[in-house]
Amino acid sequence: MTENYFFEKFLEQFEESDLSQITIDSEFRSIEEWSSMMALVIIAMVDEEFGITITGDDIRKSVTIRDVYNVVAARKTAV
């Protein structure tokens, strides 16, 4: 799993927002489409794409997309 691939998959979950200014270090809650439901979408995407379980708390503690990536990467290494 590369950082770029994760970032790409993360952004794919947002279909209605202007993502041109979003980088991996952007705060994902600043994306207009973000809602509590998006946390579930991201958890499902991480399971489907990377076979890793993350929790709602992991998302709540994260600020940027990179923070989420780091949780997934750490868990992937541990598997």
Binding site: E16, M37, V41, I43, M45, D47, T53, T55
Partner: protein, 357 residues
Amino acid sequence: MIEKSCYYDPLIFSKEREIIFDSHWLFCGLTSEIPGRRDWKVIEYFGHSLILYNSGKSIRVFQNVCPHRFNKIFDDTRGRGVIVCGYHSWSFSEEGYLVGNQELEAENDKRPCLKEYPTEIIGQFIFVALKTPIQSIQKQLGKETVEILNTISLRLTKRIFEQSLDHCCNWKFIVENVIETEHCLSIHQDTLVKAGYCQNSPIISFDSSHDNSSFIVPFSNDNFGKKRNRFVSMLFGSENVNSNYQHHFIFPNLLISNFENINFNVSKLLPINAERTLFDMQFFIAPVITNNQGLIDEFISMTIQFGKEVFEEDKLFLERVQKGVKQIDHNGFHYKSATRIHKFVESYKKWMLNGKS
């Protein structure tokens, strides 16, 4: 329309209790709340304190009052064990008979026992009759409703939340609120509407020979809905999901919301007086097919939050309505399209005027 005083007059409330609640089978709980032998639960209905008791062989409903010196037996709402009155340690068998007090038993021709109420079970749903019911449970509910209750019972596998919300309003305002969707666009914009549950018109159905009604609102399959489908199918399997929101009102006090066949809210109304009603609710989710505990926990957390918000949104307005009804000099209006309300009004009037539906 229902005459406005019916929403606050204590004399009318007493009449409702006698004509409607004392003569109907009332929903009082689910068998899964007392799953094991000697599990019990206490509920309060119109001043009756009731023990729902699992005897191991059947579910029984007893009066929560000791026949000896009238002490209330259980103060807690739930527990497990033999029924023992704390005042003189009288204990009762699973059938409600006094045990272990031979002297007293010998002195009386009639063996003391707890008062037991007639009880019927449909699927997981327990119904009790506070007085002698005027018809059988099957006749009261009708075939369609019995089928609905049996089907839903199979999906109520995991209870995720329960609470009693004390509403300072008449029980009929709660019924009228939950059986129409017209208010959703105004007060549930950030919850039910945003989640796609109330964007389309409801398809309403009645069981014409009974007092129950239902609606189905097709789920909105916009981008939001599509996103939702991604985790919903992972959690529950797409073949188990219905793309709609269903609501059932089972006269006089049972309300069931079925969201996509994956999460459910089962509620009962416990009227306290003409202007106060306890809204007792339980949330459930259907069986999950994933092992992803992070996804399950987050879905449960979101579902609870969602449900609580919806009920709080309603409560705010219902209590304002209760204050307003006393100030106005007419009986208000209903949308023509709110046909479930018209059906409820018709049933209510029939019972109050004739004592039968």
